[in-house]
């Protein structure tokens, strides 16, 4: 067995109560059918629906009561 193991490095990370992180370049279509391109190595997609900057997370989820968080 090699001692140099492999790291877990998922393309997507679900943040409990918060956004979905996605690594790499993606095109995200919002509910109006508009395409948004990612512009950074990792992007945070809003899962609570309350961001003022949809489809991206702007941390509004932190201001929501627990039961409304994704």
């Amino acid at each position: 067995m090699s001692e140099i193991g492999e790291f877990e490095h998922p393309d997507e990370i679900i943040c409990p109560g918060g956004p979905l992180l996605i690594r790499g370049n993606h095109a995200v279509i919002d509910s109006d059918g508009i395409i948004h391109h990612t512009s950074r190595p990792v992007s945070a997609i809003c899962r609570c629906g309350k961001s003022a900057n949809l489809p991206w997370c702007d941390t509004t989820h932190k201001a929501l009561p627990e039961r409304l968080r994704p």
Binding site: C15, L21, A44, W56, T59, A63
Partner: protein, 316 residues
């Protein structure tokens, strides 16, 4: 940048020694060290030798034994001071990442961002930008020192965030550069360190704490904890500041800097807490207290700055 103005006996002696290179640093080591502001500007200048340096100081003084010795002594006192200010925080429960977010969320301090959003005048905002420029013009540099001190997991995680901070290879997107453009468009000076003589001791302490954590491998946990708290208190406040700047009709370039941080730091806070602190603590659970020390220091120093600033403004 030239050596800053001295603020007391120690910095007077130190800055003289840096410029004139006496054979012995007796006057520096004999100087009184009781004045907090004097000590902090001296320490800031000693750290600066490792960043961009001063035009009026020889570059080879960076590793001068007396400079290193003094820095080491001042750092030891500063670290004690920072530790003495910590609240007694209960040990963080599992899962660590949620506990860390909760620790930051439960912290309730005075908010510069809310003040800027609602009431600050144009002059007050420009004053704030001058203070913030000491850090923002070297944004992310202090924690960059930590990179070679980490093992592959946390190192890659930190670089994933740093790469974005440094513009993903495009200097036009580098955060410090975005800030400089905002400063220029606001009619402020953009040279690195231009406003160092104007900043209060609270700002010096904020900057020195980041250098202390970044430049001492022993404190790598605190450096990453500080980063996590910094990122986790940035996105929402950036939105408030952007709104305040827009209310006051400040330059769009400066608004753009803060708008970039709304989106960027919504990502970065997740990375800093989950992938960066998460991976180092998975490997080195013993660093947990240091991570918390970094978190608490970041929050505490911002509180001190905010209290000082808002208090001063409310008397204007």
């Amino acid at each position: 940048m030239l050596v800053p103005k001295a603020r007391g006996e120690l910095s007077e002696a130190l800055f003289g020694a840096l410029r004139e290179r006496p054979s012995a640093w007796t006057a520096v080591f004999d100087a009184d060290r009781r004045d907090r502001e004097d000590v902090q500007i001296a320490l800031w200048a000693l750290y600066e030798l490792h960043y961009r340096g001063f035009e009026d100081v020889d570059e080879d003084l960076e590793w001068h034994p007396d400079a290193s010795r003094l820095r080491h002594e001042l750092e030891a006192d500063f670290e004690l001071l920072l530790r003495s200010r910590q609240r007694r925080t209960p040990a963080l429960e599992e899962p660590f990442d949620e506990a860390l977010f909760a620790l930051v969320a439960d912290h309730d301090g005075p908010s510069v961002a809310s003040f800027v959003q609602r009431e600050a005048s144009r002059e007050q905002v420009l004053e704030l930008l001058r203070y913030r420029s000491i850090y923002h013009l070297k944004e992310s540099d202090p924690v960059a020192w930590v990179v070679p001190r980490l093992s592959p997991g946390p190192k890659a995680a930190l670089m994933e965030l740093q790469y974005d901070e440094y513009g993903c290879g495009d200097p036009n997107r580098l955060h410090a550069h975005l800030f400089a453009r905002g400063m220029e468009a606001s009619g402020l000076r953009t040279e690195y360190g231009a406003y160092i003589d104007d900043v209060p001791v609270e700002v010096l302490e904020q900057n020195n704490a980041m250098s202390l954590f970044g430049l001492n491998r022993r404190l790598r946990g605190a450096a990453l904890g500080h980063l996590a708290a910094f990122e986790a208190t940035s996105s929402m406040p950036s939105r408030r500041i952007a709104a305040g700047l827009t209310r006051l009709g400040l330059a769009t370039e400066m608004v753009a800097y803060y708008e970039e941080h709304i989106e960027a730091d919504a990502v970065h806070e997740q990375l800093a807490v989950r992938t960066i602190c998460g991976s180092i603590l998975a490997e080195e659970p013993a660093l947990r207290d240091d991570v918390v020390f970094g978190v608490e220091t970041c929050l505490d120093l911002e509180d001190r700055f905010a209290s000082w600033l808002i208090e001063g403004w409310s008397h204007e």
